[in-house]
Symmetry: C2
Subunit: 274 residues, 2 copies
């Protein structure tokens, strides 16, 4: 599997991906799932991919040369000359559809779903930052201030912390920390998500970044974060009172509220089920 998360904030964008791929539990490999496209001063774009590796590699391979034409005599649009991230996402969608045309039928004959999920975000001079999630059909949705992040791959273990922390006002490095905590929960729970990680932090209006880092087991910041998070989470857990029951020596703090109906016990075979 895979876990990738991309976050759009007022201050910039954060992208984080793991690098494990697997075809069964006994065939595990490491492939990078992040691509950074940069034309300094003009555009900065990051692509994260999950799903079938042969599909996502094919999409990445043809993305730069894929063109869309809105009018017969119009200029072909590529990710390098698109005037908006929306058009760049359309080019990406076209690349996905192209791979589907080429491989979809043969995959189907082999019983393999055409399964690819992409996150594509960045900024092109002349407009604000934008972040898209592109589906297997080449269609896509855009992140808004109500939902400032997208995940692809194994998204569930790492979602609660994103929901608790992220808003468009979250500072960039705090959002990067949040993404790393989210990744930590996922790494702990799903063997098919693994190190090293690729992390990119982009500041609004820069059209370039030098904040690109590959994080492996030795990375001192990630090690500090994992240890502290695990230990402090446990301290918080311990700091919350355990439930006590009516009749116990403590205050009976776990009592049903007046309207709740307690469960009926079944005590003989003849008793009616409720």
């Amino acid at each position: 599997m895979t876990y990738c998360v991309a976050i759009k904030l007022n201050a910039g964008l954060v992208f984080l991906s793991d690098s494990r791929t697997n075809a069964g539990l006994d065939q595990i490999s490491s492939f990078r799932k992040m691509m950074v496209y940069e034309k300094a001063g003009d555009r900065f774009m990051v692509l994260l991919s999950a799903g079938n590796l042969s599909i996502s590699q094919s999409v990445r391979e043809i993305l730069q040369t894929t063109q869309i034409k809105d009018e017969a005599d119009g200029e072909p649009v590529t990710i390098w000359n698109a005037r908006s991230m929306f058009d760049a996402a359309r080019v990406l969608g076209a690349a996905v559809r192209h791979v589907h045309e080429r491989d979809g039928a043969a995959l189907k004959r082999s019983g393999v779903d055409f399964n690819v999920s992409l996150l594509f975000g960045g900024q092109i001079r002349g407009e604000g930052m934008r972040l898209f999630q592109v589906y297997s059909a080449g269609n896509f949705i855009e992140a808004t201030s109500e939902t400032p992040y997208f995940q692809v791959g194994e998204s569930k273990y790492g979602k609660p912390v994103l929901d608790r922390v992220l808003t468009p006002e979250t500072p960039l490095n705090e959002a990067a920390k949040c993404a790393l905590v989210s990744m930590d929960s996922t790494l702990k729970s799903n063997l098919s998500v693994g190190l090293p990680l690729d992390l990119v932090v982009y500041e609004e209006g820069r059209f370039s970044t030098d904040k690109i880092v590959c994080i492996d087991e030795q990375n001192p910041y990630f090690r500090m974060l994992r240890e502290n998070w695990g230990q402090k989470l446990r301290e918080v857990f311990d700091s919350i009172e355990d439930p006590a029951w009516a009749g116990a020596s403590n205050v009976p703090i776990i009592v049903p509220s007046p309207r709740s109906k307690p469960l009926k016990k079944i005590t003989t075979v003849s008793e009616k089920l409720v």
Copy 2:
């Protein structure tokens, strides 16, 4: 969907279930998913169910009258006379298979999977406590000290906290708190899991319990737990240093380790993909 968790500790057993069922997002209902079977002084058993509601209701309906016979002239075994929880779990498996014989083919014709997941735990006089997870085929597995809990239904959001906290030595009320925190994360993330909850705590060797509570929105303990957990989790998150970057005014704490290969940027269309 559903979320149920059952925990086996040295000190006893904890069972927690939500009560939401849904057939599509626009058809949400509340059904209890826990059954308590008790013959005071002799046996105490709890059944939690997830999956297709018509199947799990049918299984519950016939469970008490289901019999298995190991020898033609032997005494029929039921959940009320089984000498071990293992045999009681076999009776439950037989009930699942009976429902499959009755409904499986018709469900298949309608394109509906025969999908039911059950947790069944308790204690019968003469042996220790045991906890089983029973699958749609009527086969089952048993919890051991390495994995002292089982989940059915929407298990992912609430798994990290169980893994961080639970061991066989965990005290009963602390494990109940852990189950409630796990449920809180699940409630926050999946609309198809909902209040009220049913919680049962069983002490080893009692063959009965009065610690059965139905927890709804008004329950003071659960409200306290949800508020404190959310707030303190946020405090822990804030207490961990944000990453800083080389060149920033702070210490550059997020630096790659020597062996990690940084990601290569693509800066022109002619550049080779890595």
